[in-house]
């Protein structure tokens, strides 16, 4: 009996949800262990901060990763990395997702208003970059009326705003700005020097102009009201400055500069070669031959596989919620008395009338304010499920309305209760009608699941972001990710076709089609 199977699916999805809820209690990243230092950063923020090692993508590297390891070792803590979107690092800190945030966070009055900072672990400046053949631009003052790219909400953006005459274009991803500069869509790019060193310097068509612009100090962010942790961090930073560890880390990453020397009072010269920088340039170099490129792409596969698995998991569970809740909503809307009917209607309209992205962010970041703290996976799954439930409710409603009125009457005439009529007669038929639509919706959900990447989930789209920002290569990873989505969706496309064909045949009711001739006389 299809409806029983259907109920079974609903029961399963509830069981799985419970299992996740329970396991969430033991989730390592969330366990408040005193022996660990949970640090938040965005592994897709690109080199040289924290990023996937181009030589081995399952491995995370970066100068901040090295600094965290050194500090944690000094503090006798085990560092635990927590992925979060760069934009959300501070909300995540306030929400207690991690103890500290270390990811090129500038010590500015605006930031200090919401979080506390350690002493700086690195001091740098903004670097202006232009096309190699451009002789006109030599400093900030030559930018009047020109298109200048920079990172969203950065110090560079504020410097440009103060200058006031440039046409500012803001970017989320540094590489895109340099690519646009190469392609002539921009006249100049102003960004933090480390980014320029890693993404602009290796490009032959670009050059550095002007001197050091502004002063940027990166500090470790801590949620307000934890002076003890701040002073422990300060002590650890001082320790690694004194021991020369910080100097050699920055040297290895080709980032040591006179500003940092002045800040730390360390004016020695280190003999450490820039090995990490060289390795990065080699691994991402465009000069790589076909074979090594092929090997690189093959190396993407495990990462894509893991991303695809995550996408599939969250989509399947989200859909399980959507089809169960959607049915309840549709039945409330269609068959229940006043309060339930209206509530279900409001739910459907509110959800359909607001963007899924807002709902995801709301569930993850706003609900903790009222005490509902959800694991990112659970939050993403719920957001997708609750959102799609509204659409499925409308599908079911159409399906329920398509059932001839006589079916309900026949069930009533057999003295079935309303619930029995719905359960045995109306719903099973409606479900058959809507299965093809639901299967199609699942394919949409599979794609919409990419939005959960904003709440730290590393699913397929997030993997694409990681690969492309690491390698500077949008084309091949893009095609690979697109193919993975297609491959995942394909079985469901076939399923939709199959159900459309087979269920349609079964429901093709010759009696329902036969029109009733009006008033035939006796023969």
């Amino acid at each position: 009996m299809p409806f029983c199977r259907y109920l079974l699916a609903a029961k399963w999805s509830i069981a799985i949800m419970l299992a996740i809820l329970l396991s969430f209690g033991t989730n390592q990243a969330y366990a408040n262990s005193t022996a660990s230092l949970r640090w938040g950063a965005d592994a897709n923020s690109g080199a040289p901060y924290v990023f996937a090692d181009p030589a081995d993508l399952s491995h995370r590297i970066g100068f901040e990763e090295d600094i965290v390891n050194a500090i944690a070792q000094d503090m006798h803590l085990t560092p635990i990395f927590v992925q979060n979107n760069w934009d959300s690092l501070i909300p995540g800190l306030q929400r207690g997702l991690y103890d500290v945030a270390i990811n090129g966070l500038e010590i500015t009055p605006e930031h200090q208003a919401v979080v506390d900072f350690s002493i700086p672990y690195y001091t740098t400046f903004e670097q202006l970059v232009v096309q190699r053949q451009n002789a006109r631009i030599t400093s900030l003052h030559d930018l009047a009326g020109l298109r200048v790219g920079t990172l969203k909400a950065s110090l560079a953006q504020r410097i440009l705003q103060n200058y006031g005459k440039a046409d500012i274009k803001t970017y989320d991803v540094a590489i895109n700005a340099y690519t646009d500069l190469e392609n002539g869509r921009l006249d100049a790019v102003l960004m933090d020097a480390p980014i320029a060193i890693y993404y602009a310097a290796p490009r032959h068509d670009l050059k550095f102009v002007s001197g050091q612009i502004g002063v940027i100090q990166y500090g470790i962010a801590v949620a307000k009201g934890n002076p003890k942790l701040v002073s422990q961090l300060n002590a650890a930073i001082e320790d690694i400055i004194r021991s020369g560890q910080l100097h050699s880390i920055l040297q290895r990453w080709n980032l040591w500069n006179d500003m940092t020397a002045a800040q730390t009072g360390d004016h020695t010269t280190s003999a450490t070669p820039p090995t990490s920088y060289t390795a990065f340039i080699q691994a991402t170099g465009t000069a790589a031959n076909h074979n090594s490129k092929l090997a690189r792409y093959i190396g993407f596969l495990p990462l894509l596989g893991r991303g695809a698995l995550m996408t599939l998991e969250i989509s399947v569970l989200g859909m399980a919620i959507a089809v169960s809740l959607g049915l309840v909503l549709a039945l409330c809307r269609g068959y229940m008395p006043f309060p339930l009917k209206t509530l279900a209607g409001c739910y459907v309209e509110c959800i359909r009338g607001t963007p899924l992205l807002i709902q995801i962010l709301f569930i993850f970041y706003a609900l903790p304010d009222i005490g509902v703290k959800l694991d990112p996976f659970l939050a993403g799954m719920l957001a997708l499920g609750l959102n799609y439930a509204a659409y499925e409710a409308e599908n079911y409603r159409a399906g329920l309305q398509a059932i001839p009125k006589g079916q309900m009457e026949a069930a009533t005439a057999l003295n079935m209760t309303k619930i029995q009529s719905l359960r045995y007669i109306i719903v099973p038929q409606a479900v058959r009608i809507v299965i093809p639509t639901i299967t199609n919706d699942f394919i949409s959900l599979l794609k919409d699941s990419s939005l959960v990447s904003v709440i730290t989930m590393v699913e397929l789209t997030q993997v694409y972001m990681q690969l492309s920002t690491t390698y500077y290569d949008y084309l091949v990873p893009g095609i690979m990710v697109a193919c993975t989505y297609l491959l995942m969706g394909f079985p469901f496309i076939l399923l939709a076709r199959w159900t459309e064909r087979h269920l349609a045949v079964e429901l093709d009711h010759p009696m329902a089609r036969k029109r009733i001739a009006p008033g035939p006389g006796p023969h």
């Binding site: 057999l414 003295n415 058959r432 009696m511 023969h523």
Partner: protein, 265 residues
């Protein structure tokens, strides 16, 4: 109209079915006005009249598929009374209607078999889930009913694989499976191919012989005349004439009856 006299000369036995002062309106349109009649157990009554005269609505009021505005419907000892339109159709009334419905089987013009269930499941579903019957017993009984309507070989088929006449016989078997005291038929043959009509009517004739009380809304005048114990003629939501089947065809009392039957004779 005055209280109808049924079967002149015979003292009225305690009525098996009685409908008293039944009124029904849809929005502001009165579709049934002061309907009164009684029936004895085992009677087969045909209700005739032009389309839209309220005959189907009357039938549907008798098992509360439509909620009547006011009046009383009594069937096989269960009586449901609604004083007026302001009387809420509350749980008490709904429970009474449900009890009444348990005495009544209904067959629809549009068949309304459940297309997602086999013929056997169509028949056994209500006995199992409503009456709490064991599946094995319900299936045994269903097979007996299918045999009786000549469909024993179709138990595992789906409604879509049956002809209209077969499906209507299955629908009768489905209604009979709930052991009703009264069977109501709402134009049971008007959606059927003329060649298949007799299969259905023969079952009703057989049931009549076995003593089943039956009411049929029909356009089959030949059947009405030959098989009915008496005929109710309706027009504009009122009963115009209740009469012996030959009487109404040979000597219709009312001019409206005469006019209506004139179309057929």
């Amino acid at each position: 109209m005055s209280e109808p006299t049924l079967h002149p000369g015979i003292a009225p036995a305690p009525a098996f079915i009685s409908v008293e002062a039944l009124y029904k309106s849809f929005d502001d349109t009165m579709v049934l006005k002061n309907i009164n009649f009684t029936m004895k157990q085992g009677d087969l009554v045909s209700i005739i009249g032009a389309s839209g005269c309220g005959k189907s609505t009357l039938l549907r009021c008798m098992n509360f598929l439509e909620t009547l505005d006011s009046g009383t419907v009594s069937i096989a000892g269960v009586s449901v009374h609604r004083a007026n339109l302001d009387t809420p159709f509350d749980s008490t009334l709904a429970e009474a209607a449900r009890k009444l419905r348990s005495k009544v089987g209904m067959v629809f013009q549009s068949l309304n078999l459940f297309p997602h269930k086999t013929i056997l499941d169509n028949i056994t579903l209500a006995p199992i889930i409503v009456n709490g019957m064991a599946r094995a017993a319900a299936e045994e009984e269903a097979m007996a009913l299918l045999k009786r309507v000549g469909l024993q070989d179709f138990a595992k088929r789906y409604p879509a694989n049956l002809s209209g006449g077969q499906a209507q016989r299955a629908a009768i078997a489905r209604a009979l499976a709930m052991s009703p005291k009264v069977m109501l038929y709402d134009e049971p043959t008007s959606a059927l191919d003329p060649a298949l009509v007799d299969d259905v009517l023969n079952i009703m004739r057989d049931l009549n012989k076995e003593g089943m009380t039956q009411i049929v809304v029909t356009h089959e005048m030949r059947f009405a005349r030959e098989a009915s114990d008496y005929i109710i003629f309706m027009e504009n939501g009122e009963i115009v004439e209740i009469s012996d089947e030959d009487e109404i065809f040979e000597h219709p009392k009312d001019i409206r009856t005469r006019k209506f039957l004139g179309h057929f004779l």
